[in-house]
């Protein structure tokens, strides 16, 4: 009986465990999809449309087919019957218009970057060489590029649909019975209160995960195996079966080590289908790894909305209603989440506030640009940005402090649980505490004093202070709610715990990590629950033959949904072990208590460890009558509600008014994500999220030119920030445990990205208030800021110039000269 002595002395949950995943990652022993080489493997290269909208009139593949070591060239016409269409899981209304999305365009392309032919060759270099030889004739069609123009239907993204409008979706608190009528609140405020009306632009972003997408399909053996750098192996397997008509049981999808996703790998892609088709047609393993430019051009983009907002308040600052009118650009096709992304924000514009009336209207449109889908936060960053900008504008209008106006309207901690104007029940939170902590860490009053000094002395460097007190709904999601929103699947998660005879524990999880550290966090949960050493737990994931069911990783769901499934599966193991332990200890089941990995007989020092029970169960030599050998257990958890993390973020920026340059001075984030399993991992998630959100505020934008070509199609022009552009953050947390799961945890994956964007833009605008500036369009470039200060170009609200510097493309010389004279 040595197990008890080996047991960890302290609780694992809450412990800043260094990650198990790291060893392979820091030594270069990681298994990325692109590392996979199989005997006889063939390589794919894509021929992509240079036009945003065109008819394909002719494709000549003869020269490419004749090129060295080319095995075949596949066009859309070749697979028209076989390839099916890429599905969307979320038609937001029953009458949503959804265009057919072929993996290889057959007779028409709808965005620049769409695949028109695929070369399959013995090496990647030869495939690329031959791709250059495929001759495609196009007849250009009018392209729809601007979202507002799309709404006029003056040209059509998909002529067959007859309109660019995909669907209209509304939530109205009066209709839902969860609040009053917003138009009445606005009318009243126009009479006797304050009405703030603004229009904000959520620019188009690119997830820009670091590992380019890669796919390997192996058609040999009984099951077809697809390795994919995906966030969603289970969903990919389901869709492959549905789209290609392959029995689901004949498909195995493996997501090996995956290098980031941020929603960008929450997709079922043309490239996945094509790799499978190529493998099926050639009978050989096939690989496709995209280049970065292909990734930026054809992997789905994020955000891209216009937001019209009307906020009604009493003259004392009490908000009486909010009306939201969104236009969302889906790009050329509706992806897996697709039109549902803005809807994920529908219930969050009211945020942490007690608004009595609320209305959300959203119209989705198609344009001839890259498809748009989930990107870190998906819907909620847009909502948070809008409301946090509006609350600051209200404060400015009334001449009160940004935090004061928020406090006047937010839900007090003693009011939880609180049912919002959208009918969601927020389980817990303490906005006062998080804000007080953030203010103290930030030195709020001192910075305000410095701001006053700089304003008074007309310092060329002005200081701006930005605020964002956010909440979000995450932990996707209660299946019943998803069903009510017409989403095509549930939101449960699955886990299995397998007790090995050697005392090791395998945890199988249905979530699919790509950097989150689940192997570490799940080990901590199991170590505590089963009382086994952290090191003895192995977490298995991302292979549909091992983790046979799951809903994968996105929407800050893994811990709050998947982690809870792990807890439930572990509890089942204990319950299976209990009668066996009682039998072996010759005690009554009722006399046993399970504590720290050991079944003890109450009132005695008799007992045995769970590993011993596992071994006894394995040998099965002496089990109670009617008890099956084996302790392994499965569990599925379907959350009853969402998770509502919150926090207060404060940001100070210095603006060089001579150049418009922005320098971040200080950033404080106090997040409340409930109980924390691993503080190291939580802090890391916050840091990374912050920089992505800050990057939306200051740097990143996917820009198209007038022909519909993506101008920011490399990291030269799509400005992902570096270490030299960012600062060290001050982060801390408060703890209001969630009541919706036994661990008391809330999601953290998206929090930083959701909260930070408005904090930064509020800070930028705050610095510019003395110049009469009320808004700067994102990204807040130095040029826009400078123009806003000098009242040129409509106060920093001009679209970004759609030309790039021609560093590599010497053929671009003519374009640049034109630009200079324009």
């Amino acid at each position: 009986m040595t197990v008890t002595e080996d047991r960890p002395a302290r609780r694992e949950i809450g412990n800043a465990r260094k990650r198990k995943e790291d060893q392979r990652l820091i030594t270069g022993r990681t298994k990325w999809t692109d590392n996979i080489q199989l005997t006889g493997m063939l390589h794919l290269a894509m021929v992509r449309s240079p036009f945003a909208h065109a008819k394909i009139t002719h494709i000549d593949t003869s020269e490419a087919k004749a090129a060295t070591n080319v095995v075949t060239v596949i066009t859309g016409a070749d697979v028209a019957e076989e390839q099916g269409g890429l599905p969307t899981a979320w038609a937001i209304t029953t009458d949503q218009k959804t265009p057919v999305h072929p993996s290889i365009a057959v007779d028409r392309v709808a965005f620049a970057g769409e695949i028109v032919a695929v070369v399959v060759a013995r090496s990647a270099a030869e495939a690329r060489d031959a791709a250059e030889l495929v001759d495609v004739d196009y007849e250009e069609l009018p392209a729809v590029l601007d979202l507002k123009e799309a709404a006029t239907d003056s040209a059509l993204t998909h002529p067959d649909l007859g309109t660019n409008k995909s669907a209209f979706w509304q939530f109205d608190s009066a209709n839902a019975g969860t609040g009053s009528a917003v138009d009445e609140a606005i009318a009243e405020a126009r009479e006797s209160g304050v009405v703030i009306e603004r229009e904000y632009r959520q620019q188009r972003l690119i997830p820009a995960f670091m590992e380019p997408r890669s796919f390997v399909a192996d058609p040999t053996g009984e099951q077809l195996t697809l390795w994919s750098s995906t966030q969603i192996p289970h969903i990919v397997r389901f869709f492959l079966a549905v789209v290609l008509g392959i029995p689901e049981s004949k498909i195995r999808v493996i997501a090996p080590d995956v290098g980031g996703g941020f929603g960008g790998k929450l997709q079922f892609t043309p490239e996945e289908i094509i790799t499978v088709l190529a493998a099926r047609r050639t009978g050989k393993p096939c690989k496709y790894t995209e280049t970065r430019s292909e990734s930026l051009m054809s992997g789905h983009h994020g955000r891209d909305q216009w937001q019209k907002l009307t906020l009604a308040a009493k003259s004392d600052g009490t908000v009486t209603g909010l009306k939201v009118d969104l236009m969302a650009d889906l790009g050329a096709y509706a992806g897996v989440v697709g039109g549902g992304v803005p809807i994920l924000g529908a219930f969050m514009f009211n945020a942490i506030y007690k608004f009595p009336a609320y209305q959300f209207n959203c119209t989705n449109y198609y344009t001839n640009k890259t498809w748009v889908d989930a990107y870190r936060g998906a819907g909620r960053p847009e909502a948070t940005f809008a409301i946090e900008r509006m609350m600051t504008e209200l404060a400015d209008e009334l001449g009160v402090d940004q935090l004061e106006i928020r406090e006047k309207n937010w839900i007090k901690h003693e009011e939880f649980p609180f049912t919002s104007v959208c009918g969601l029940e927020y389980d817990s939170g303490n906005y006062e505490e998080a804000t007080a902590k953030a203010k103290e860490m930030f030195g709020y009053d001192e910075l305000l004093a410095e701001q006053r000094r700089r304003r008074e002395s007309k310092d060329p460097v002005q200081l701006g202070i930005g605020v964002s007190t956010f909440t979000e709904m995450c932990g996707l999601a209660p299946s019943r709610v998803l069903g009510s929103l017409n989403y095509g699947a549930g939101g449960w998660e699955h886990a299995a715990v397998r007790m090995l005879p050697t005392g090791k524990v395998e945890v199988v999880t249905g979530v699919s990590p790509h950097g989150q550290g689940h192997e570490t966090a799940w080990s901590q949960i199991i170590a505590d629950r089963l009382g086994v050493p952290f090191e003895d737990v192995e977490v298995l994931h991302g292979d549909t033959q091992i983790s046979h069911k799951g809903m994968d990783t996105y929407g800050s769901r893994s811990l709050v949904v998947g982690g809870e499934a792990v807890v439930k599966a572990a509890d089942k193991v204990i319950e299976k072990a209990r009668p066996i332990a009682a039998h072996l200890l010759e005690a009554s089941v009722d006399d046993l208590e399970f504590k720290e990995g050991r079944f003890g007989v109450k009132g005695t020092d008799k007992g045995m460890g769970i590993a011993e029970v596992a071994l006894a169960s394995f040998t099965a030599h002496n089990l109670p009558d009617g008890v099956e050998p084996g302790l392994d257990s499965d569990a599925t958890f379907d959350p009853s509600t969402f998770s509502f993390p919150h926090g207060t973020h404060l940001c100070a920026v210095e603006i060089d008014t001579e150049t418009g340059g922005v320098k971040m001075r200080k950033y404080v984030a106090v997040d409340d994500v409930g109980n924390i399993v691993n503080p190291l991992i939580v802090a890391g998630q916050v840091h990374g999220g912050l920089v992505q959100g800050i990057a939306q505020a200051l740097w990143e934008e996917a820009v198209y030119d007038d022909a519909g070509t993506l101008v920011s199609a490399s990291f030269v022009d799509y400005l992902v920030p570096t270490a030299a552009d960012t600062i060290s953050f001050d982060t801390d947390h408060t703890t209001s445990p969630a009541t919706s799961n036994s661990l008391g945890t809330k999601g953290v994956g998206e929090a930083g990205a959701i909260a930070s964007t408005p904090a930064v833009v509020n800070a930028v605008v705050d610095a510019l208030r003395p110049f009469g500036v009320k808004d700067v369009r994102m990204p807040c470039t130095p040029e826009r800021i400078w123009k806003a200060i000098h009242d040129r170009g409509a106060g920093g609200d001009e679209p970004t110039e759609n030309a790039a510097m021609p560093h590599f493309d010497e053929a671009d010389v003519a374009d640049r000269t034109d630009g200079a004279s324009a």
Binding site: R29, M210, T291, R292, S714, F715, T722
Partner: protein
């Protein structure tokens, strides 16, 4: 085809390669040094950073033929006698990686940075890593890791 002979992570190798083959492809496909990865086509991301004759370079921006007669160290050659390099250890200790795709390049550049400046300030660290993109960590813990490695004397020992 051009014959090249070079030393990679201490081992001599010799191969016939197409002149167009990038060093990173040579390392990955011929030598199986898949620890070094490719993240972009414009040499912005730095994920492919290795040391060429002891100095950091982006191996997507070097032809394999250019490395003929030279010595390459990759992330896989950094640990000595089973002991992690102090920078590797610091990345683990400080949680300076999440998905880990940028990590090999980030570590190799951090080693180079400390070789050139054993005692860098935070600003020097940040500038020294400006050729390496990370999308997960927000760089916060990467900077901490380089500081931690510096205080362990990584620059002197490397």
């Amino acid at each position: 085809m051009t014959r090249i002979s070079l030393k990679v992570d201490g081992a001599s190798c010799s191969d016939d390669v197409e002149p167009r083959m990038l060093l990173v492809h040579y390392l990955r496909e011929r030598l199986g040094k898949t620890g070094t990865v490719i993240g972009c086509d414009t040499s912005n991301c730095g994920a492919c950073t290795v040391h060429l004759d002891g100095k950091s370079v982006k191996s997507c921006n070097v032809l394999a033929v250019q490395a003929d007669g030279h010595e390459v160290t990759t992330i896989e050659g950094l640990a000595q006698d089973g002991e992690l390099h102090p920078v590797q250890k610091a990345f683990h200790d400080c949680h300076a990686l999440q998905c880990g795709f940028c990590t090999p390049g980030m570590i190799m550049q951090s080693v180079d940075l400390l070789n050139e400046n054993a005692n860098p300030s935070e600003e020097e660290i940040r500038l020294g890593l400006e050729g390496n993109l990370c999308r997960c960590t927000g760089y916060h813990n990467i900077v901490k890791a380089v500081q931690a490695a510096a205080s362990e004397g990584a620059g002197a020992s490397a």
